[in-house]
């Protein structure tokens, strides 16, 4: 007989827009009070307009049976992480009720609470306690954890001296050895090099096979297909699909291919902002639409938009930024070329192994001559997965993989 492990009944979660609101200074709170006491009272008593809030989750309900492995998929902002945070009791639902049968451990980040000054050994015990393991449990698994992470030689070195690869391996190893009835995991498997990722995935598979209930969020659709039997697809805060994993993933891929990455028209400025509109940005690899990009495969970017009039010469431009640094731009034509009124589609192809793992911000614009332009910064983001092709951290440092040939002359 199978029993229920997780029951979620009609769960809603509301956030106020611009969360900074509540974290503002007291000066703001007081001056706002003075300026608009009525509004403030209305908000405090919960009668304020809906405009200031948005629902991150709406009427979400499902049940998970003991021993099931459920994959949660959906676009960024669809509510996956909010659901995990509620299941992990980090934040409370606004409405609804969740019942969990059994001991729950959640893993939303690797290395939470790691202290750089403490040794690997001390951090294992610290992190274990934070994740809810008893000292005895950690002590029993200690050797296994150290071996899994492969840091035997450095176990008494402060972790601030670890390479970033060693650090995440150790952090993941602790979490991978949690023994609970229900395991809630966010996108944490995307750490370390390819070999370690495979090891982590097979470890997760073991956990699932041992009859534990696993609740797993990932953008890695391959991992979801391999590990899970069932998929929950979230669309704008609602549960859009609940069923067979193959069907769920296929549906997600279809919805993604249709929409691409929507671009908001309000983010653009410049004299041309009224005349040229950018609608979507779609990334493809091997002909498949992707959300997470493999840095070691060529990338095709398709940009779609609409021009309300024709231009004798216009240049469409895509800029890549990371941490505020402008890394470079690509143009859709080698020289300025005419653009006809109506819909336009441009394609850029970027060879394999140019970008490093991580998130790059995208700016999009067009120039039709001096002083005639439109530009939107930060209108989309590209996420490159942690695929380092087996190379070590030191060999994949920096923002770009510079194409080069190196040789030792003497």
């Amino acid at each position: 007989m199978t029993t229920t492990a997780i029951r979620v009944e009609d769960v809603w979660k509301q956030y106020s827009v611009g969360l900074d609101r509540s974290a503002v200074t007291m000066y703001d709170a007081v001056s706002e009070w003075l300026r608009a006491p009525l509004q403030r009272i209305r908000r405090l008593t919960g009668q304020g307009g809906d405009a200031e809030f948005f629902w991150a989750l709406r009427e979400v309900g499902f049940e998970v049976r003991e021993g099931e492995t459920v994959g949660v998929i959906g676009r960024n902002g669809a509510g996956k992480s909010t659901l995990l945070k509620i299941l992990s009791r980090i934040t409370a639902p606004t409405r609804g009720r969740i019942t969990l049968h059994g001991r729950v451990a959640s893993l939303l980040e690797v290395g939470t609470g790691f202290h750089p000054e403490l040794s690997g050994r001390e951090n294992i015990f610290l992190n274990g306690a934070i994740l809810g393991m008893t000292r005895r449990e950690v002590a029993r698994k200690f050797d296994e954890i150290v071996a899994f992470a492969g840091v035997e030689k450095f176990i008494d070195t402060p972790v601030k001296r670890y390479s970033s690869g060693m650090y995440v391996r150790l952090a993941f190893a602790v979490a991978a050895h949690l023994e609970t009835d229900i395991l809630v995991v966010d996108e944490v498997l995307a750490v370390g090099d390819a070999a370690f990722q495979r090891k982590s995935l097979s470890k997760m598979g073991d956990v699932a096979k041992r009859g534990r209930t696993v609740f797993f969020v990932s953008h890695n659709l391959g991992a979801i297909r391999n590990l899970c039997s069932r998929a929950l697809l979230f669309e704008e805060g609602r549960l859009g699909f609940d069923g067979d994993v193959g069907e769920g993933v296929a549906r997600y891929e279809r919805s993604f291919a249709a929409a691409g990455s929507a671009i908001e028209t309000t983010q653009f400025r410049g004299p041309l902002a009224q005349h040229v509109r950018f609608d979507s940005l779609i990334c493809r690899q091997d002909g498949q639409v992707v959300e997470i990009i493999d840095p070691l495969a060529p990338l095709e970017i398709e940009l779609r938009g609409f021009a309300s009039e024709s231009f004798p010469s216009l240049d469409l431009k895509l800029g890549f930024f990371r941490d505020g640094v402008h890394l470079g731009s690509c143009h859709d034509t080698p020289d300025e070329a005419p653009l006809h009124a109506g819909e336009f589609v441009s394609r850029l192809v970027i060879p394999a192994d140019v970008f490093r793992p991580g998130r790059y911000s995208i700016g999009i614009g067009a120039v039709a001559g001096i002083g005639t332009w439109v530009w939107g910064s930060d209108v989309a983001a590209l996420d490159f997965s942690e695929n380092r092709g087996g190379r070590s951290d030191e060999r994949t440092e920096g923002l770009l993989a510079i194409p080069y040939r190196g040789e030792r002359i003497q």
Partner: protein, 275 residues
């Protein structure tokens, strides 16, 4: 599988709720681990290490002795000014260190709070550890000073333990309250240090209670630190205890702790959303 089936129900928060003692007890290991982490890390990568726990209060004592003992000629109830001061400076240093640390503790543990569940009360609780460790070390200096000046070393010394317990209750109450308020209003990261500084001069640390005019005594008794600081002085300098301010201090401490914890529990479910 491992444990007997445990049932957890997650629902929207509903106003004031009682503290879950059982849960807090289940997380005692985390409390211990976080406390020892803070203590271990406190003097890492310092040349003098734990000696700072002695140097800081001793230096403060020297400075205050010069300013208040020599220049201002502050009376000290017939005791040598340095030991008169140090006996009160110790509990004060503990108290101010503990509330400063816990006021900032939740904000400082933002990453933890937004990624892992545990009773949030653990955070301000564990932040007291460092102040307590420093207190124990610097008490050693005081015991030596007492030998040097030939005062104290009487059975009254035993009273220091219940006094410390009372002061910890007070520090916990104020610390949990401040930590929860600081999450919402970061202004308190700036307000707290001033509050602590003003509080020092509103407490008979650098001056004896006897310089306060009789008709204002009730006011200074309302400061819960008055009773504890005077109590420590009595314990270390072997003089009779003033029972009224002590009783007042204990009552205020317990009330503040109850209020601090209740307020904390009321707002704790919001922390992860705004931290």
């Amino acid at each position: 599988m491992t444990s007997a089936q445990q049932l957890t129900i997650i629902e929207p928060p509903r106003g004031w709720r009682p503290l879950d003692w059982r849960e807090l007890w289940e997380y005692r290991e985390l409390l211990w681990v976080l406390t020892t982490r803070d203590v271990k890390v406190r003097y890492k990568q310092t040349v003098l290490g734990g000696a700072w726990a002695i140097i800081r209060p001793v230096l403060t004592m020297v400075i205050f002795t010069v300013i208040f003992g020599k220049f201002a000629r502050m009376p000290s109830d017939g005791y040598p000014y340095p030991i008169f001061l140090y006996a009160a400076l110790l509990p004060w240093t503990f108290f101010s260190g503990a509330i400063s640390a816990s006021a900032h503790s939740l904000v400082g543990a933002g990453a933890l709070v937004s990624k892992v569940y545990f009773p949030r009360l653990i955070i301000p609780l564990s932040s007291m550890g460092s102040a307590l460790a420093d207190l124990i070390v610097s008490t050693g200096v005081l015991l030596l000073m007492m030998l040097w000046y030939g005062v104290g070393w009487s059975p009254r010394l035993l009273a220091a333990l219940p006094l410390l317990a009372g002061m910890m209750i007070l520090a916990l109450g104020i610390g949990t309250l401040l930590s929860a308020i600081t999450v919402t209003y970061r202004d308190f990261t700036h307000i707290t240090p001033f509050m602590v500084q003003i509080w020092l001069y509103a407490t008979p640390v650098v001056f004896p209670l006897s310089v306060v005019p009789e008709r204002w005594r009730w006011l200074i008794y309302l400061n819960p630190m008055t009773g504890f600081v005077e109590g420590f002085r009595s314990a270390f300098l072997d003089k009779p205890f003033a029972l009224v301010p002590l009783a007042v201090s204990f009552v205020i401490a317990v009330v503040l702790l109850a209020f601090g914890v209740a307020y904390f529990e009321r707002v704790e479910r919001r922390f992860a959303d705004i931290i």
